[in-house]
Amino acid sequence: MSEVKKTVAGIDIGSRSIELVVLENGKVVDSRRVPTTFDPLAQCRLLLADLPDLPMVATGYGRKLLVDGLPERRMTAITEIQAYALGSHHLYPEARTVLDIGGQDTKVIALSPAGKVLKFEMNDRCAAGTGKFLEFMATALQVPLPEFGDFALRADKRLQINSMCTVFAESEATSLMARGEKAANIALGLHLAIVQRTLAMLRRVSDTPPFLFAGGVAHNACMRVLLAEALAPPLIIPEEPDMVGALGAALYGRQQPAG
């Protein structure tokens, strides 16, 4: 690669939010987030409005939408698997297993020491075990989502919630409440259910530490504690866990020949 200044952008269009990272000579010079809403394309236009014409790489479930919808931009696309692999390896070259829990899907990626994807699995067929599930349950327990993790950590006992289906879990939670169970205990039970499901998926793909936990759900304190408890240390959590995909996309753009 030449030494000339190279600026690239990565955009991760997820089901809940859209993230943007701009890299200049490998340094993050800008990073932003907007909610996805029902019109992701309009949100992207807004997000990119003041950016000059620079090479961009889109990832996430809306990547195609962006490539087709913004023909005026120099835009390529990669999958979120590739993006999270690149981003994770860049931030923490030692990471060997990436767990990403986003708004509507969960991914596990096994990485080689050189950062190459060895194997991956995604669950994107139902909300069970994803950020959507947590959001739903937080609403049911009337706790603001950003506080849901801390709220659950105040539990004094570990309840078993058996249903992972969002609808059934809610009715299970409701009947526990009716029996007088503390809301915090129920919240912890719901987090435990997600962790169990996530671990099963994770172990199918890779059991190699260090583990890196990314995606929006990595902000949740209870998920962090429970996963750290279950997995071989250290559990790496990036400072901005939901920017990893956008960063990876931008890094991909950096590797591409200029043009």
Partner: protein
Amino acid sequence: MPTPYDEMWEKLNLDLQAHEGLLAVLGKFYGDIYLTQDKRLKGMEYLDFVLSEVHGLRIKELQEAKAQSRKIIGTFCVFVPEEIILAANGVCVGLCAGAEIGKEAAEKILPRNTCALIKSFVGFKLARLCPFIESCDLVVGETTCDGKKKAYEIFADYAPVYVMEIPQMKNACDRDLWKAEIRRFKDKIEEITGNTITAEKLAAATTIVNDRRRALQRLNRLRAASPVPISGRDVLLINQVSFYDDPIRFTQQINKLCDELEERVKAHQGIVPENTPRLMLSGCPMAVPNWKLPYLIESSGAVIVGEESCIGTRNTRDLVEEKGQTVEEMLDALADRYMRIDCACFTPNTERLDNITAMAKDLKVNGVIHYGLSFCTPYATEAFKVEKALQAAGIPMLAIETDYSMEDVEQLKTRVEAFVEMVR
């Protein structure tokens, strides 16, 4: 729109209105997936034609055969020895169905968690949309997976069903059972056609079917070239059409197509650049018009160079030995050849693992995509073993489980694209 076939379809008791809708959808689907391809072989025009006439000209041919008192025998599995049918001057048609048709009706008489293939052939029958089933004098089922085995019991209320017993293992006693089953089948076919199967007729029939296998083997050798000279979609289509086209005409046409392919390979011409990732499909059969996954793969920057499936190499890999002189010797040869089929319904089924690994190496693939229909236990379970075997050989595998619906296309696309990025 009236067609020259309306009267024939009406006689076959098809639901004309729904049938017209089906053909329209099929035509559109075919146009999008097939006719948009670049650098297609001239020889594919034959396949385009056959497919466009799949419910027309071919059905007319079947009616003409019937008028000459030939019998039409439908099958659902590559275990049913076509040679026997042809030797009795019958016509054999594959009835496997690859479209989500009559699903609700099928779900009234079958459990919902039945694989799409079974639901589809039942659905086609209940919705009166398949002129092939309606033309059949006999429909041959077989005891392979539990889903099919039990579905035939129910299907027997709607069509004349005969069931062959397929062994589950490959010991000497299983081979004996299978030989006895072939003989019983021969008796049944002789009875229904009124023709005696002589050594001469059976030898001729064996050559016809072997010739078709040889043509498809030739196709598979040629398509393996680099750069890849024909799309995987096209090869899948050829394999699909082999199940209901006239075997002699089909073989001629495929050999012609292979001549063209040979030229292309010599000229080092490909349909995609040489460095395009080469993938192989493995698993459940993909019946017409189930082109969903191949299309997805080939529009994700990869090319398919092999199909390890019953609508693929499992049906064409082995020939029947043609040395036998007597009917008995020929039946032995048939029994031996069909016992080599490595379907996941068998236990253990280590041949399949060896065959997949060998094929993947031969074809120099970058990866294998294992295709399972939802609720197909035999293939879903075996996928774990396939993955292990491939892993040991250093070949990455992606397991996909899906059905005929289009609901999951976006999710599948992400998986397939990520796999292509990974193996590139």
